[in-house]
Symmetry: C2
């Protein structure tokens, strides 16, 4: 990365490695701004930016008149959540009311937006995409004022096939279908492989929108024990497939919402083997896949075994344009069924918007854009976790996602997050209460916090206020 | 209408009234171009344009060196189709394959486009809308790069409420929900008032897309006898409601596709009374309502009795922008159910596109645009009917729609329109075979022809070629 605006992040990572590797011990003085900028060949301003970031993240402490020190491990960071243990039975879902209420609060600009996993528009800064659309509307409008071919604009499908090739799946554009966001992709996938009354096995906790779709399609949800780092428990999955009727599985490809877990490749391959053995199709939701903080993008299930029965779903709603409604799916052997359902549900996507989005991807700006927002999301997550660790009650657990932009917070068991939610609303703060993430209301003491808005005093204040409310709820003193 | 570009149509209508009223008799000479232009105060060019239009419509004949004469009634025009008599039983539908095949041919630019009811983009000439979108993308992109409120962009909903007020329904924008075209509106409406296995009563013949949606939602279709001018037969509806379980009715508000029928207000009121009595909700499809040729827009059901249980659905796909995917519905007492389903199926529409469309409506160009395309559609229909009457075999019947842009053609019973379809494809011509318009395959000898492309020698040649194929099919000599 040679772009100067990211040097401070590189420098911050460098210092973090020295601390975590033990080269710099807690309480020890770190090189002064002047020293480090000379050693690392950066400007003083860049060094200052890096140190301030590390201070926000809780890695360094500034001491007046004295300089920067490695923060003392006065208290360890909060542990990650434990693996979930939902009841092992298929249940019908009744969550519509909760979801509608949440979405209404989420679109209220007066609330601090920790509620929905929506990146804020000023953070996405999709002006380049808007300009491409404006150009297409002015010059090619007449060409695109018609229904698209059933699968959607061929140019955009070609670009998507090229992107899929990067994570190892060689595709023809004919194997893809464009949709109205990932929501329509998942709905079509579920409809293509299930019938009303069927059972879908899912991670637990899982995104409430999926539970809602399962409810509307009259399906049953079977929640599986899920590790906050590794995803679905393999033994539990095997036992479930052996003992129960499961008509489809629906798992995140990476950075599950809300836990942030990603199954490593070997575990994904083992899952696919199990599903093939039991002839159960997998629907994978890769909507967060491009927002990885590590060196390498996690590989989707569909690229690990091209013969497995997988329907891949994704969209650009979390990375650049929630307002454009560009989603897509790769239905494998279910293409005919998916297309038939798409014709009946929405018929066609917006032709001009799809074509413009294809132009935008072809122009190459998307990868630069991704690097920028991944840095911001990661930074937001670190700062929010640090704020939580300083202000929430002992016994709180926080997820450690390596991608995406949400945190899952387990509060002490006696706290009712729904009560907290109502109190937070009174203070102008929105978050997503944990009960919405389970068909069996497992997570009444949990909350999901979105890190999709630029970090600010307003956001930090809101997280601190949630910490105070949580402490009040258990009669814990202020820290 | 003072716009000069329509004077020739006014003049043509004036002459047509003289002919149909008997002031000008068949075979008689009509005023010369010079005479009529002086009498009516038009230019010679306008008079010539009017006479040529009437010649194309079969009202006048030009005789070389002699002038224009009223066409002799050498043969009467074809009769309208008879009222339909489908079997009175609910059937499950299996039409997906036919629909997908038809849509694939319909998006093939190499075929003469008589197959799908899609206005051609150059006829719609939606450049003004495209420019409004381009402006919005350049200047307000960041404002709209997010999920819309559940019901969709408030500005566009306000404009739609103002338009509904013109046909007599006073609405709040909060009573409307935006959708991805009329298809999503109808799907949401059906899902909100039915469950899988339920029965929906429909007109017969009816748009194959509706039958397809009924199939995908696992509903049954009950086809009702339908008059080509007046719509659903009232006695048959009453008897059906008395004797069968009907969970919903789905009727066109006006210009039913493919017949073109529109129930008069009194019949609509009687239908609503029957449905209220039997507590059956009505879903009305008003997608063609703005394309009326008469003095007055037909009134939708929902405006005739605000207390009736009606879900109104429409879109702008037939009038200005099939590629924009702007549909809407007014779900009445079913708003909550509709919103819950919308969240699960597509979550949100394209925010910027919706906002731009609202700006376009507010700017007032839409009504001028409507007047222009209505004139063109009407003219296309007259010319196509005239060509059919000159080239199709005796015994053919043709609909006489007073709006929309499709013709329904009943061929002599022994003709199999599916066989004709295959032969037409070989000649590069697409039309919609009648079998696709019935759950019980009533209309094997019928065809729907779209008049949605500008009239041209290519279109006229294709209609003539269909006439030849039809005559060949029954061994009739060329006329």
């Amino acid at each position: 990365m040679t772009d100067g605006s990211y040097r401070y992040q590189e420098l911050a990572d460098f210092i973090t490695r020295l601390v975590s590797g033990g080269a710099l011990l807690p309480g020890s003085r770190v090189p002064s701004l002047r020293e480090i900028s000379r050693e690392r060949g950066t400007s003083l301003a860049t060094a200052l930016q890096a140190y301030r970031l590390l201070e926000d993240r809780g890695v360094l402490e500034a001491r007046p008149q004295s300089g920067y020190y490695v923060a003392r491990a006065g208290r360890a960071g909060f542990a990650a959540p434990a693996a979930s243990r939902p009841p092992r039975a298929a249940r019908s879902v009744a969550i519509s009311g909760v979801v509608l209420q949440l979405l209404e609060h989420a679109s209220d600009p007066g609330l601090v937006p920790l509620g929905c996993a929506i990146p804020s528009a000023d953070l996405l800064a999709a002006g380049r995409l808007d300009r491409v659309l404006a150009h297409a509307a002015r010059h090619r409008g007449i060409e695109y004022n018609t229904y698209t071919a059933p699968k959607g604009d061929p140019g955009l499908r070609r670009q998507l096939a090229l992107r899929a090739a990067r994570w190892g799946r060689a595709l023809s554009p004919e194997e893809l279908t464009l949709t109205c966001g990932c929501t329509e992709a998942l709905t079509l996938a579920l409809q293509a492989v299930t019938r009303p009354g069927d059972t879908v096995a899912i991670e637990s906790p899982t995104y409430f929108g999926l539970l809602h779709t399962i409810e509307i399609l009259n399906l049953k949800a079977l929640e599986l024990p899920t590790d906050p780092f590794l995803g679905v428990d393999l033994d539990a999955l095997e036992q479930t497939l052996r003992e129960k009727t499961v008509n489809a599985c629906l798992f995140a490809s990476s950075f599950n919402n809300p836990l942030g877990c990603t199954a490593p490749d070997e575990r994904k391959i083992a899952i696919l083997r199990l599903l093939t053995k039991h002839r159960v199709p997998l629907i994978e939701d890769d909507i967060y896949g491009d927002i990885y903080f590590g060196e390498r993008r996690p590989t989707p299930f569909c690229a690990l075994d091209p013969r497995a029965d997988v329907i891949y779903c994704s969209s650009f709603s979390k990375t650049v344009a929630p307002g454009y409604r560009i989603g897509w799916l790769m239905p494998g052997r279910h293409m005919q069924g998916v297309l038939e359902r798409k014709m009946a549900l929405t018929l066609s996507g917006a032709a001009l918007t799809q074509a413009a989005f294809g132009d935008y991807l072809a122009s190459g700006g998307y990868d630069r854009h991704l690097r920028r927002i991944k840095g911001i999301f990661r930074d937001n997550i670190e700062r929010m976790r640090h704020t939580i660790e300083r202000t929430f009650p002992e016994g709180t657990r926080v997820s450690r996602p390596s991608g995406g932009f949400v945190l899952w917070v387990e509060l002490p068991k006696q706290i009712d997050a729904q009560v907290l939610f109502d109190r937070a609303l009174e203070r102008g703060i929105c978050f997503a209460p944990g009960g919405a993430f389970s068909a069996t209301r497992q997570y009444a003491h949990c909350m999901r916090l979105s890190c999709g808005a630029p970090w600010s005093a307003r956001i930090e204040g809101a997280v601190r206020a949630l910490g105070s409310l949580a402490r009040e709820a258990i009669g814990s003193r202020s820290r």
